[in-house]
């Protein structure tokens, strides 16, 4: 060590006595070497301090920059609003999971048997504490709600930290890479994804207490199909056989009722087109609730009374209205009227000329199916927090309510409101009965919709336990975060003139589709930033899975592999023929199975090769067994197949495809692909994402303050226009004698 450093340090830090100090200073003056060293040291220290200051400045600058962005675009509200949410969400311990696929010697059954899938898929590890309820969301969006004290070992209850290991194969690429197959005792299945779950403490396998169970919600990739949960059993050839199917619980997930949309279809859009700020719920509520249903006997469609004048001043009924009348569609009549109003033509309300039309609708008498429509005051009653945790406070009910509006039948609404203690599917079935035998188009469509709802077999709201409450909070929180991030993104983009023009063109359609906006790259990047920041403020890991409408839920009481499947058909692959009765025609047929033999070029050079048969349009993955040097499987005559081969050599992945497989012999060569290319495979029936933008008003950002105030000033005059939209069966207040001229 340099001889001067220590004393210089002591001098600088004031550790020298008075005499020592004086001595040192004398030396400084006389000894040039010391002086140089002293100045060097000072300068060095300043440099170190500067480095420290610089780092702090950079950090502060960055924080200030993010905060200013947020303040500017109004999402600072996120911090305050969500401060009350305390949902314990366990984080994935290894966010860039480079963890080994097999981490223990024994599997969850305490044997040494591991399948190809176990060896291929890297785990996600979560640590939870048994003293609290925890919610976990996996990478692919499976949500586990784990109650406190849910685990036990040989000796009894388990306390403290528990390690949860999860593996997922929720996409075709992942399924095939893992060598997984969708077969159950020789029967073919269609899958919505597979996953593995196990709990350990200090490496020891735990079991799940049967009275507790882990409530599992899986994104439904095959909505409309009846899926079941299968258990996986490892076989000797490295595969997994799926067995013991159990139906899903179809419990409804309760949400905050105020977060749902109970307005009639097109209500918000119409308000928007008139210049209102539809994100202001107080405003939209007050407008909606101010419109009440009139219990008149007459119910001629008001459109009969809306006629315009042609160039000669002769009354003419708009063709759009005529057309809509013919279709008897209340909605389109209302829309047609609004359009005519917008066109600026001269409108008068004139006395209905009963002699002119021999339309049975216009007999001025009772129209018993439509005596009164859905009264806003009724909606006002149910759209209240006191109905939280009932079937009304669910996305499922929101969906059904939209259909109920189109039927104009208040009895349908009553059905659900009065059936709070029943299961949803019971009411769906009664709704179908109520709607049968009615003639109009709207009713017909509604009837179909309720049939589909019934097929979902949705149940009730599960028991109000604390961990279900946590789950509910989790979904609500996610919904809010996504909504806030979307709002912030739109605001930011519309603030930029150029982007606004482009996005405005996309969003100008009556019912702006978030799908089209989401594909815009600028939107995606900005949204990603806003979403991450929203989560960061909560101190949580961002969830990249958008809030979905459809989940399949069940309670899991055993660890291991699980699979979400539906049976494809009653068949066994091992047969050579099958007696088959066509469901539609009742005709019988004998289906032949013919062998397909596949040779893979240079098969020996790969470490692992999986060959698959993929029946057309199904989410089925039939792994072909090796017969000597080739892959061999029987093809069902009724299916069209393609074949995919995936192979591995070291870290590299190879793939080959045959798009149309024919019985007999075939061969394929493989080429190297990247993981990203493999991820391009998607399930056929992937559910459509939530349309968030149609809930938000793009015009919010185009509006200038004066338009808004002007609109509010004209409110009364416009009220009448709105009545038409909300109540197509509505008759204006005035006596038929008076002529009423409408402001343009």
């Amino acid at each position: 060590m340099n001889k001067y450093t220590e004393i210089i340090t002591k001098y600088i830090t004031g550790q020298l006595s008075v005499t020592e100090k004086a001595d040192f200073e004398k030396q400084l003056a006389s000894n040039p070497e010391l002086k140089a060293e002293y100045e060097l040291q000072l300068q060095t220290i300043k440099g170190i301090q500067r480095a420290g200051i610089k780092k702090d400045v950079q950090k502060g600058f960055k924080q200030g920059s993010i905060k200013s962005k947020l303040i500017k675009f109004g999402t600072i509200v996120l911090i305050g609003a969500l401060a009350t949410t305390v949902v314990l969400v366990a984080k994935n311990k290894f966010s860039n999971s480079e963890e080994e696929p097999i981490r223990y010697e024994l599997n969850e059954e305490n044997t040494k048997q591991w399948s190809d899938a176990d060896k291929a898929i890297r785990p996600q590890i979560f640590e939870i504490n048994t003293s609290s309820d925890t919610v976990i969301e996996t990478r692919e969006g499976i949500v586990f709600s784990i109650p406190a004290n849910a685990f036990k070992n040989k000796s009894g209850d388990v306390n403290g930290t528990v390690e949860l290991e999860v593996k997922e194969a929720m996409n075709p690429g992942d399924i095939m890479q893992a060598g997984l197959s969708t077969m159950s005792d020789g029967k073919l299945l269609e899958t919505g994804g597979m996953f593995y779950l196990n709990a350990r403490q200090d490496g020891e396998n735990l079991s799940i207490k049967p009275d507790k169970g882990i409530y599992t919600s899986i994104p439904d990739k095959n909505p409309g199909k009846e899926m079941m949960l299968f258990e996986g059993k490892r076989t000797d050839n490295g595969q997994i056989n799926w067995m013991n199917p159990k139906p899903f619980e179809n419990n409804l997930i309760p949400v905050d009722i105020l977060s749902l949309n109970f307005y009639p279809p097109h209500f918000l859009d119409t308000l928007r087109s008139m210049g209102y700020d539809i994100t202001n719920k107080k405003l939209t509520d007050s407008i909606y609730y101010s419109l009440t249903c009139h219990h008149h006997g007459e119910s001629e469609f008001a459109s009969e009374n809306w006629i315009s004048k042609d160039s000669a001043g002769e009354p003419v009924i708009g063709s759009a209205i005529l057309e809509a009348q013919a279709k008897r569609q209340a909605d389109s009549i209302a829309e047609a009227i609004v359009k005519l109003i917008k066109s600026g033509k001269d409108f008068t309300y004139a006395e209905p000329d009963s002699a002119k039309s021999n339309d049975t609708l216009n007999d001025g008498g009772h129209y018993e199916h439509y005596s009164c429509e859905i009264d806003p005051s009724k909606i006002h009653t149910i759209w209240d927090q006191k109905f939280n945790n009932t079937i009304l406070a669910t996305k499922e009910f929101e969906e059904r309510l939209q259909v109920i509006f189109t039927t104009c039948n208040p009895k349908l609404l009553d059905l659900y409101v009065e059936g709070l203690s029943r299961k949803m599917y019971q009411m769906d079935s009664m709704a179908v009965t109520m709607l049968s035998g009615r003639e109009t188009d709207a009713i017909h469509k509604a009837s179909h919709a309720f049939e589909k709802f019934y097929a979902q077999r949705k149940g009730g709201v599960p028991i109000n336990s604390s961990h279900m409450q946590k789950l509910k909070q989790y979904f609500e929180e996610k919904q809010k975060l996504y909504k806030d991030a979307t709002l912030a993104t739109l605001k930011k983009l519309y603030a930029d003139e150029n982007k606004k023009k482009r996005l405005g063109a996309i969003a100008k359609t009556e019912h702006a589709n978030s799908e089209s906006l989401r594909h815009d790259k600028a939107y995606q990047e900005e949204f990603s930033i806003n979403l991450k920041e929203a989560y960061r403020q909560l101190g949580k890991e961002v969830s990249l899975n958008p809030p979905g409408r459809n989940f399949l839920s069940t309670t899991i009481t055993t660890p291991g592999w699980k699979n979400v499947d539906a049976y494809v058909m009653e068949s066994t692959i091992n047969r050579t023929t099958l007696d088959y009765t066509d469901r539609e025609t009742g005709k019988k047929a004998v289906i032949k199975y013919e062998p397909f033999i596949l040779k893979v070029t240079d098969q020996k050079k790969y470490d692992k090769v999986f060959a698959y048969l993929l029946p057309d349009k199904l989410s089925s993955f039939q792994r072909m067994p090796l017969a000597g040097d080739v892959f061999k499987e029987n093809l069902n005559e009724l299916f069209k197949y393609s074949s995919v081969v995936i192979a591995f050599k070291g870290e590299d992945i190879f793939m080959g495809q045959i798009s149309e497989v024919k019985p007999g012999a075939g061969s394929v060569s493989l080429s190297k692909i990247t993981k990203a290319e493999l991820d391009q495979f998607r399930f056929q029936n992937a559910a459509a994402p939530i349309d968030m933008v149609s809930e938000l008003n793009y015009q919010l950002f185009e509006q200038k303050e004066n338009i808004r105030t002007k609109a509010i000033a004209q409110r009364e005059a416009i009220r009448e226009r709105l009545m038409q939209v909300v109540f197509p069966c509505y008759t204006p207040q005035q006596q038929p004698q008076d002529a009423m001229v409408l402001a343009k």
């Binding site: 060590m1 340099n2 450093t5 220590e6 340090t9 060097l40 040291q41 300068q43 060095t44 220290i45 300043k46 440099g47 170190i48 301090q49 500067r50 480095a51 420290g52 200051i53 610089k54 780092k55 702090d56 400045v57 950079q58 950090k59 502060g60 600058f61 924080q63 200030g64 920059s65 905060k67 200013s68």
Partner: protein
């Protein structure tokens, strides 16, 4: 946040927090730089440099607020940017305002800082652990006990010795760099 409060933050060593608050004065500087042939990155660099100068002066106890922090920072940034442009043989154009800090004063501070910039550069080439240690000691003013805990040294003394060694290394680097620059 008032200027006085920000200065208090700085005196108590909350540089990051103060930096965040002071972001508010950045947009004006950004505008000035962009108007005069600069990029957004240039503006950021200039502004952060001005903050460093300000923070150091407060740390050394020789900062006196004569006008407002806004004016001070703007003046420093204007000086720094015009200095940069001079080197590129370009001129700077903007309005001269009375309340600005005189250039000579800023020049003095900047000149001092340039010495420190060189020292910082030399410091950057010591090992990561040394860097951490030295910053904790000289910037965060942490005691050896805490440093030993944070960085995993066996004892206070080990931390002390290590600090000397790291300081030596930094001094050597600086010496070499200085002879190189001559």
């Amino acid at each position: 946040m008032k200027d006085a409060q920000i200065l208090e933050l700085l005196k108590s060593g909350s540089f990051t927090k103060a930096g965040g608050k002071l972001y508010a004065y950045f947009p004006v500087v950004k505008k000035m730089v962009l108007k005069n042939n600069g990029s957004k990155q240039d503006a950021e660099d200039i502004y952060q440099e001005a903050l460093i100068i300000l923070f150091r002066k407060v740390q050394e106890g020789n900062f006196v607020l004569s006008s407002s922090l806004n004016t001070y920072l703007y003046s420093v940034c204007r000086y720094l940017w015009s200095d940069t442009l001079k080197k590129q043989n370009k001129k700077i154009e903007f309005e001269k305002v009375e309340s600005f800090i005189p250039d000579e004063e800023i020049e003095k501070d900047n000149h001092k800082e340039s010495q420190y910039r060189i020292a910082e550069k030399a410091f950057q080439s010591v090992g990561e652990k040394c860097k951490e240690l030295l910053v904790l000691f000289y910037h965060k003013n942490q005691g050896f006990k805490q440093i030993a805990k944070d960085l995993g040294f066996a004892s206070e003394n080990v931390a002390k010795n290590q600090k000397y060694r790291c300081l030596e290394k930094a001094k050597d680097n600086l010496k070499k760099l200085k002879t190189h620059l001559k």
